[in-house]
Chain length 223, copies 4
DNA sequence: GATGAATGAGGGTTCATTCAT
DNA sequence: TATGAATGAACCCTCATTCAT
């Protein structure tokens, strides 16, 4: 087949402008729009999934023209990935500091649970997590990012906390220390339940988390 | 018929024939093909997700022509829903009977865990579960079906088991009795972990499940 | 930037089917359609140029649906390139045999000129040549193909003819032998003239060619 | 105003301002910018063709903002047409005076050839000619302009020269007198060759032109 | 029934053109 | 005057669905 060096122009080369020369004519107008697009994208992506979401709808929801999206994001995929990253980045730090408080372990765990309820389950970040679960296998680099930036850091923080707890004799077993996934599992399941079954069988996530902690630490209340 | 919130392009007028006029030309040839299509569909859907999967690829994988799919399934959506239903139905019964065995509760739980590992995590059924998690919000009727046919029945069986266990004093608390989700959560997380992070951090699901049961029942082995 | 191995599916991989399994259900129906598309494409491309031509218009002109084009050609570029190749290939052979006739050189040249007038200037092939001139720089591989398959072969044939002519003393000089471009130049110019200026100043190409041959061979008539 | 057969999207209502209200804010700054834009446009148009060239790239190359182009030119098409006209105008005069020198005809022809090599083939004007060849059919008014302002004047000058040459017996035949295209043809072909085949088969245009003149005038050197 | 060529609506992306600053 | 962000019409290409064979 005859191939050419032609016509197909900008591959991933040209990227959405990051900041105009002299600072750009709209200093934080730009940031606002970017946020509006990300917010709209979150809604559309989480309502329809990556493939089925239409940038047309994202634009309408963001109150801009379709082409404008491309002034802020390379393409649909970059929009998706930027969305994931911008939403998840901030929480990890908060989580890490919550886990490193010098309090009785159960108390720390309860703070973390509250944090999860307030900052994740109660916000659109839960949708981000669903998106990662759903689309991760199709976006290996995104899964990798999420693993390194969120999961691995979270696991490390949990392990540090639990090592101390074990020393202090606050834990029944080293099970969650070896498998921090066990600590988080109910949170994940809560997210999934709420998005699939909430209308059929509402779940009292507060109570679920309390029961979970009771299992781990024995009954008791550190509040 | 299961309806969804998704948009349809062409009319839903004619439906896939359910049985040939005069008895059908191929008695169980028909069943074979149906299975081949479902198997192919499972692969494509779980590799790409519902929206991005192409019926063309399903057909190639099933070794048939594209149009043939429409002799067996109404449309792409029906294929997807039939797939979910045909795969998950059978397991529930097995699970129910495993949970109703008259053995020490820990032993029953271990059987159930083995069953999960063997029949779900070790097979393509884990992909079905991922698909439900991913696409459920877009297919409310499917989530409903899954809730009633799988989740609710599973919960009922677990509750029966645990009620007995509580009476017998085999459980530390009534936590999982009130929230059977806690029992299942590590299994869900294992499925997700394997599809997203296995290459970055392999997970020993056997050990994970054992640690989980240790937490619930205290250390010990009922085998 | 996060990259993925994702989503972007078929690059140039999947090619337009070349022939169905059992010969294809439409034996030469396929060839007919292909021709219809090529004919339509020729019109659109030569009327608007490669970039500005719309496949939509090609489809309408060919009497088919837009998507059908993609059953026959990989993409717009492949259609363009196939067009050039399918049109120019055949003529070269005819030209070569015309040039190798064992006749007085002037007679051979006149046959070639007639051939040019009849088979190129008088047909849509002149548009192909214009297209190559116009788009060649943007399609280097196409220019290469054209150079090797048409130009180089033409030059070789001309050189063979002229070498013989020089031996026989039929030529005034070895100028065109060294620069066969000189032989062809008026033909090229005629094509360009007709497409640009014909309406302002009609050109009698017959007379032009005769005058050209007179210059090369001295006045005389071999017919 | 030059009109074309091409489609316009937005209205042609407002035109590029030709001179600032109260005299214009920048006296010949304006001319400089105009030149910069034209130079940039030449590069982009000749590299990509009219349709595929992007005004964005023109602006970048000219070191201005995209919108600024519209302060100097009506629209893309006007820019293109102004480009052609501004580049070709000047040469014609030079050519005409070269052709009207009172020297032996062969000498005049050689001067003209040198002029062509130096002022056209050796500069970006050759790209202008390629552009006219390529886009002329889509811009009839441009072809008309080019015909009247360049071609017709060139032909007239050539005819005058050759009439004198015939009288003086310096020409073998009246062929080129009747068809001045024959005189120019090798130049055209050289332009095309260089843009298409130079990398495959370099062409010695000097030698080509000399051989051409030898054919017309018989061997000899008037220098 | 089975096939696969054909259809055509749809969506991502581009880019000429406008206009608020 | 100059800027460049914003617009939105277009266009290439895909793919679910149909239907003649």
């Amino acid at each position: 087949m005859i191939e050419t060096a032609t016509v197909k122009r900008r591959g991933k080369g040209r990227r959405a402008r990051q900041a105009g020369p002299r600072g750009g004519p709209a200093p934080e107008r730009r940031a606002e729009r970017r946020k509006a697009i990300l917010a709209a994208a979150l809604q559309e992506f989480s309502a329809r999934g990556f493939a089925a979401a239409r940038l047309d709808d994202v634009a309408v929801r963001a109150g801009i023209a379709k082409g404008t999206i491309y002034l802020y994001f390379q393409d649909k995929e970059a929009l998706f990935q930027d969305l994931i990253r911008s939403e998840m980045g901030p929480v990890v730090g908060t989580l890490e500091s919550a886990l490193s408080l010098d309090l009785p372990t159960r108390a720390v765990a309860e703070r973390a649970a509250e944090l999860f309820l307030r900052e994740i389950l109660g916000t659109s970040r839960k949708d981000i997590i669903r998106l990662i679960i759903s689309e991760g296998p199709r976006f290996p680099k995104l899964a990798e990012f999420y693993y390194h930036e969120v999961v691995a850091r979270g696991i490390a923080a949990v392990r540090a906390l639990l090592a101390r707890a074990l020393e202090r004799g606050e834990l029944r077993s080293d099970a969650i220390s070896r498998f921090p996934q066990l600590l988080v599992a109910p949170g994940i399941v809560a997210i999934i339940w709420k998005s699939l079954f909430e209308s059929h069988a509402p779940l009292d996530v507060h109570a679920l988390m309390r029961a979970h902690l009771d299992l781990l630490f024995g009954e008791g209340n550190a509040k």
